[in-house]
C-alpha cells in the first residue's frame, strides 16, 4: 500500500466517522429536519433561530421515544404572555447549557398565537439566548394535546415535563421551576451522571 493510498483511506475513514456523529443543533440538522419532517432537530443559534409549528400529530411525534437514541427529553410549555414562564426562562437556558452535551434533549413548546411564530416568540427566545429547539403548538384540539402530554395536567402554564428514554414521565412541575429540583431529576436520567 502506497503512502498516498494509506492517507486517502485514513481520510475516508475519518470523514465517515465524522459524518456519522449525531448533529444536534447546527443548521445542517435543522435543514435536514425540515426536509424529512422530523420535528425534534430545529433551532440553530440565536441569530438563525427558527420557531417551528407543531400540530397535535407533530406534538405526539415530538414526545415519542422512537428515534430518541436512548436520550431523555425535557419539554417546557410556555407562552410570552405568561409572566412566570418568562421569569423561569433564564434558568431553563442555563440548564440546557449544562446538560446539552451530557445526554439530554431539551425542547420548548410555546402556546402563543400562531401569528406570533415569527415575531414575539423568536424575539423573546433570542433575548434569552435560548438554543434549544423551539416549537409553537397550533392545534384546535388543545384539550387533546394537554391530555396526551399528561392526563393529570389541567393546562396551567408554565409546565415542565421530563421524559426518560422510554418516553415515560419521570418528573413534572407546573408553575415556575425550582432549578435545583429539576437538575436532580435530570441527573437521575442522563447517561453522564
Amino acid at each position: 500500500m502506497t503512502r498516498l493510498t494509506r492517507t486517502a483511506l485514513l481520510g475516508a475513514l475519518a470523514l465517515a466517522l465524522f459524518s456519522s456523529l449525531p448533529a444536534r443543533t447546527n443548521e445542517a440538522s435543522a435543514l435536514s429536519a425540515q426536509q424529512s419532517g422530523e420535528p425534534r432537530k430545529a433551532t440553530a443559534s440565536p441569530s438563525t433561530l427558527v420557531v417551528r409549528e407543531l400540530d397535535l400529530a407533530g406534538l405526539k411525534k415530538l414526545l415519542s421515544s422512537e428515534g430518541r437514541e436512548g436520550r431523555p427529553l425535557l419539554v417546557n410549555f410556555w407562552a410570552t404572555w405568561c409572566e412566570p414562564c418568562r421569569a423561569e426562562f433564564p434558568d431553563l437556558v442555563k440548564i440546557d447549557n449544562e446538560y446539552r452535551n451530557r445526554g439530554l434533549d431539551f425542547v420548548t413548546v410555546s402556546i402563543d398565537e400562531a401569528s406570533e411564530i415569527n415575531t414575539t416568540v423568536p424575539g423573546f427566545l433570542k433575548e434569552m439566548r435560548a438554543l434549544m429547539p423551539a416549537y409553537l403548538l397550533n392545534t384546535p384540539e388543545q384539550d387533546a394535546a394537554i391530555q396526551f402530554v399528561d392526563p393529570r395536567w389541567t393546562g396551567s402554564l408554565p409546565a415542565t415535563f421530563l421524559f426518560d428514554a422510554q418516553g415515560k414521565i419521570v418528573f413534572k412541575h407546573v408553575g415556575r421551576i425550582k432549578p435545583d429540583e429539576l437538575r436532580s431529576a435530570i441527573k437521575a436520567v442522563v447517561s453522564d451522571k
Binding site: F77, A79, W81, C82, E83, P84, I111, P140, Q142, D143, I146, Q147, W153, T154, G155, S156, L157, P158, V174, G175
Partner: protein, 200 residues
Amino acid sequence: MMKRYLFTFALVFSLCCAALSNIDVKASDSEPGAIGSVVADFKLPDLDGKEQSLSSLKGKNATVLIFIGVQCPVSNAYNERMEKLAQDYRARGINVIGVNANSTESASEAKAHASSHNLTFPILKDNGNKLADRLGAERTPEAYVLDASNKIVYRGRIDNARNASSVSASELRDALEAVLAGKPVAKTSVPAFGCSIKRG
C-alpha cells in the same frame, strides 16, 4: 412441607399487594375537585371584605365557580363571556361566583379590575388558596359546575377559544344546559391552557 409454606406466603403476599394497589386506586378517585365529589359549604370574604358562604351565594339549580385573575391575559379574554354567562343563567337558577386565589393580587386590585370590566357577579378572595386547594384548581380561568346538591359535575375550560369569534365548542354552557335538563353532563372534564394560580 417447606414448599407449601412458601407457596402460602407468596399467595398471601400477592393478595396483600393487590389489596394495597386497590387502595391506591380509591385514593386517586377522591383527589381534590374530582367529578362526583361534593363541595362542603365554605366561607370566604368578598372583595369588600364581607364574609360570604357557598350556601348564601349558590344557585337554586346549580352554581358555577370560576377561578379568575386580574393580570392573566387568558382570564381577561373571558371577562365579557363570564359576565354574559352570569346574566344568561341568573334567571334560570344558576349563579356564577368568581374566585381570585392569586396571592399576588389583593382584594382591592381585584375590586378595581371587576369594576373596570363590568363584572357584576360576586367575586371571593381565596386568601391562602384554601378553596383552590380543596378543589385542586391550578389555572385561571378554570370553571367548576356544582349541581343543586353541590356535587361537582363539570370542571375545566369555559369554551375552546381565547378569541370569542373563534369559539366552536362551549363545554361550560353545555354542562349547565345538561344540569337544567336533568341529563348527565357529556364532557365532564376539559383542560385548557391558562395562567397558573399564584399560591402564597
